[in-house]
Symmetry: C2
Subunit: 502 residues, 2 copies
């Protein structure tokens, strides 16, 4: 009679029992000449891309790791146009991949097969700005950096910032619940996004746009869309709370001798800097090494390499008060022997140079070899860096020159573990060793994280890369509900098939 | 071919077309002796309440405005027990009302008819606390104030605080997405809650508990439960991010001559106090008048009454820095003639006395007359106080002695408009005038808010009071999706029928 009140953890399947298998194309319709006629009429000739050379950028992700073979990319300019093409695709049962800046790291935004690509790149208008409340409403294709500049001109900041800001779009950020470096200060998009406009699979428009900070008038459907990776609807516009821009900002880089010292430095930063602490990032020596080797013109401010680096940012309203606090913290950190060395940026240019050390790592890794095995993990502090060490021991025993690097948002418990073989090219140089490396890392990495109560995807999402983990991670009850919710929003399953929901 | 990409606003029905009608009991089963036998076996004799005198508190809300006629209240002690009784009720098709502290203001937590009351009052254990990350996992029946004390002892605060903290439960707070006075600083529960454990209608347990701040591994189902008002599942446990406790706190009360000055003071506070501004509340002269008249031992710090009062709190890490900023702000506000007068608390006792002026208003109003018509609204700044003035003009033309008061979280755009007839008792004294008052206020108030792009429920939810507004407010697309989601989670419709989803 008592029903299963067991915990999620004990219900988890082993990942090995649900290992990634080659995806299978569903029985969707194939693109026909009449479809192109419809799209051209709806969007205009120039906004229906079919030439193979122009299609390449829509079919391949920026890491060059996932490749689809779509025959068409659509560039609608309005919600009405998105509605028209989705309604048509739904009736025809043509599968559709929504695409923002295509900067994702898990293969979520490119086709697996011949899905129609629906790009929001032409939808980048700012629809409204409420100066008193600091609320912006913008279209999904707005580039994050453009929105940041718009916000800055109005005394605000976007509560989200990440390395890909020059290319990623606000719609893609919401669809993947992007985290980034400001989460520590401003929280996640679940708190900052006030409303979403999305087109459902059948072309109906779900409009929850609002400039109200508080609204409790039914289930909060926009929250479901945040992080839904294009499986529930195509986000076409977003209203977002923009915090007031801090008038004082400071950046420091510290060198630490051990990861325990990194954690001690984090605790000291929380205590001393409290409400002005706006970022706490870390790199290990190997991450810094790769960054310095392959990042153009980057230099370390320290004479000798250190095992760990912490990048700390403060944001507040009084430069004098904030620097008082920052120097008191640095004194405490160095006197307590938590930090071996430290520098504070004396200008905006120096601050940018310190940030570049942290933000260039992802791109620098792509220059070492291909593919880069990337794990975006949440882990409790006790396991956080131990995992990098365990991965390094495991990998380097077999492949001694592999680069195993750890960096990320330690203030949020978010580790980026990256592994790459120097000089490798998948299917080309070192192909066998790449296979060997993959077998060493998966499913080991996922099981390692799940056994420790962490998350196998902190901020990148599941995409194609981790679609097979949905059930092991969430258990049958949650995974079952997700599939039923998908059926409600997209009963014919045309939106981003084969990704998050397998 | 182009499908409806019209905005939510233009799709809204008039509220008058969906006016509140008397609820109708669904064709649920009625409680039978065998049901009580089952409950007693599952929970123990003492935890199945059937005596009318003991049942009263479960059947009636604390405002005394809504009354059900349930024959049983169940007091489970564990998730396993909740699972057992829900699974049973689902098979029997007995309707169930989940109940936390029963402090809601919209009739959401008491039965409409003879629904089984499922109280979480015995589930108040703290299951875990992660000191490094500041994450607590506690059972749903934990009283908010008890959690705050637990957090304070560990150097943290709960990111939620509201007047009912001595009685309301964390499960009820999450089920209603409670807002309160700290939202300005720490954001909503959608950002602070890291995981929820809930029992679904059929007894299955949905476990999303987590101590990880970042987790993107599927649709974020916990977000749907936040604010679902008991319609999707019974929340049994919550994991929540607790911010580090501020080491310095200051409270000031300012007197303003006009509401424009209140808005000017808010803008100045945001600019001067920035990251240390933790609350910005307001009361109008009538709200202060009622509070001083009926709040035991409360006194205004000012010699003469003012048209408006702003209560401002700062929370930071340096008392000296914070007071510097607070006094600089107060100088600017008084020199700019935004504030006519101001006081700063010099002790914790004085700070508590200033807070009591704001937090006692709700209870003081209940002593004026009955019922108190309560509207919990989000409004844009330009309409915010105009609505109180318009309501006062409208009401007092017919009922000159009516008290029409405005107070609330002006920093979040959240107005509490309350109207009451002195000495009234529904069905007793001034019964006809109470009817007249209600007809003057509804649907006028809701249409007023909707025409201005506000929200008819900022933080209280829909409950029984506003269930008829679901469709007019959300439009048919969103309301239709909500009903389908409800069917996924609770296909037999046993959870809190007749409330949010009508």
């Amino acid at each position: 009679m008592l029903r299963g009140a067991t915990s999620r953890r004990s219900r988890r399947l082993l990942v090995t029992a649900a290992a990634a298998t080659a995806p299978i194309r569903g029985d969707y319709a194939s693109l026909a000449p009449a479809d192109l006629d419809f799209f051209r009429e709806a969007l205009g000739e120039a906004n229906v891309v079919t030439e193979p050379s122009r299609l390449e950028r829509y079919n391949v992700d920026w890491l060059g790791k996932w490749r689809g073979s779509s025959g068409v990319a659509l560039l609608p300019a309005s919600t009405v146009q998105v509605s028209a093409v989705l309604g048509y695709c739904n009736e025809r049962r043509l599968a559709v991949v929504p695409q923002g800046g295509n900067t994702g790291l898990v293969g979520g935004s490119v086709p697996l097969f011949d899905e129609v690509v629906l790009s929001t790149s032409r939808m980048s208008a700012i629809r409204a700005f409420d100066a008193v409340g600091g609320v912006v409403t913008c279209e999904a294709g707005t580039i994050l950096q453009a929105l940041e500049e718009y916000a800055n001109e109005r005394g605000c900041v976007v509560p989200l910032d990440l390395g890909a800001k020059g290319s990623c779009t606000i719609g893609g950020n919401c669809a993947t619940n992007a985290g980034g470096i400001r989460l520590l200060r401003y929280g996640s998009l679940h708190g900052s996004v006030l409303g979403i406009e999305a087109v459902l699979a059948d072309g109906r428009v779900l409009d929850t746009l609002s400039s109200m900070r508080k609204d409790n008038t039914g289930f909060d459907l926009k929250q479901l869309l945040i992080g839904s990776e294009g499986a529930l609807g195509v986000i076409t516009a977003v209203s977002m709370q923009l915090p007031t821009a801090p008038s004082a900002q400071n950046v420091a880089l510290l060198a630490c001798a051990s990861f325990d010292d990194v954690l001690g430095t984090l605790a000291a930063a929380k205590s001393h800097l409290s409400e002005i602490l706006s970022a706490f990032e870390f790199l290990d020596a190997d991450a810094m090494g790769v960054t310095l080797q392959h990042g153009h013109g980057l230099a370390s401010p320290f004479e000798a390499p250190a095992p760990f680096y912490c990048l700390i940012e403060t944001a507040g309203s009084s430069q004098e008060h904030d620097r008082d606090k920052l120097f008191a913290f640095l004194d405490a950190a160095t006197e307590g022997e938590l930090a071996a060395d430290g520098v504070v940026a004396e200008s905006a240019a120096q601050a940018a140079a310190l940030w570049a050390l942290r933000e260039s790592t992802t791109e620098a890794l792509t220059k070492v070899g291909h593919p880069v095995f990337k794990y975006d993990l949440s882990l409790p502090p006790s396991s956080f860096y131990a995992m990098v060490e365990d991965a390094r021991a495991r990998v380097c025993a077999a492949l001694p020159d592999a680069a195993v690097v750890g960096f990320g948002h330690v203030g949020d418990g978010n580790l980026h573990l990256n592994v790459v073989l120097p000089g490798a090219r998948r299917g080309e140089a070192r192909a066998e060793e790449v296979e060997q490396l993959e077998a060493l890392l998966e499913p080991w990495a996922y099981e390692y994280v799940m056994e420790r109560g962490g998350s196998v995807s902190a901020e990148h999402g599941l995409g194609s890369m981790k679609a097979h983990l949905l059930e092991p991670v969430n258990g049958p009850v949650a995974a079952g509900l997700m599939r039923q919710v998908k059926d409600v929003f997209d009963p014919r399953g045309i939106l981003n098939p084969g990704k998050m929901l397998g």
